[in-house]
Symmetry: C2
Subunit: 154 residues, 2 copies
């Protein structure tokens, strides 16, 4: 990750459909050298994949909720984590500091779907002790674009 890779990655986060002609200007390299750079970023899994930014309303999952989960101590959590990974509605599952064990980020069609999901898919899991559900009423900002640190050689 030198300065050129950094510039490429910043440009591709804004516009993943940018062509090599455009990217070569960003990189200050020829088209073929730029293509080689992008290929190596993929090989090193700095770029893990290519995605689209999809409108959640159009996708039919306008409801955004966060769910804190506390587990009974002692029981392993592997089953719980595996279950969360399987559900499409679970966009994120983090282990967290503080009073709770997990924080989930969910996207669902509506409140009825949330009710069903939390009571069955989450609270139905073995080991779950308590949950707390928080609804997002609005999202002034929601991006997957990461801040990219200044270049440090790798």
């Amino acid at each position: 990750m030198d300065e050129i890779d950094r510039n490429l990655v910043v440009a591709l986060q804004e516009n993943g459909a940018a062509g090599l002609a455009e990217l070569s200007k960003v990189a200050g390299l020829s088209v073929s050298a730029t293509a080689e750079r992008v290929k190596r970023l993929e090989e090193r899994e700095v770029i893990r994949g290519w995605r689209i930014d999809l409108d959640p309303v159009a996708a039919g999952c306008p409801l955004l909720a966060f769910v804190f989960v506390a587990m009974h101590p002692g029981d392993g959590d592997a089953g719980f984590v595996a279950a969360m990974k399987q559900h499409e509605a679970v966009l994120e599952c983090h282990t967290v500091t503080g009073a709770w064990c997990y924080l989930l980020k969910l996207r669902l069609a509506d409140i009825a779907g949330l009710e069903t999901f939390v009571s069955q898919a989450v609270r139905g899991q073995p080991g779950v002790a308590r949950t707390e559900t928080i609804l997002a009423l609005a999202s002034p900002k929601e991006t997957a674009i990461l801040p990219v640190a200044e270049a440090e050689e790798e």
Copy 2:
């Protein structure tokens, strides 16, 4: 958003670099008809943009934190929201139900950066009454791939 659009969007969420040849198989249409479909999905802003999935460690922002923010009543929050939108470290800013006003999702380089950011960029904002910071210790799942509901005509 008919069944074909839905299939296209599901395929593109998995692989945004899929070519029209591959997508036309998914859609069950010719290449040109598929190209027209994708173009219309962009025009209708169902597809809002093209992105890469970037490794946060390689990007230099391995630390993930959630920050709850309570505001003093009465003061407008427009300034706070505008400030959060400007900061790259703030990936998400949601207004939420419950005891807090906002939930922020932050990505930063390290704990020192988090300390500085929360005390200055967040707690330094006019109107902020209290904050609570939660660290993610691990993220068994973190995706931006949305669940796409069964087709409903638009």
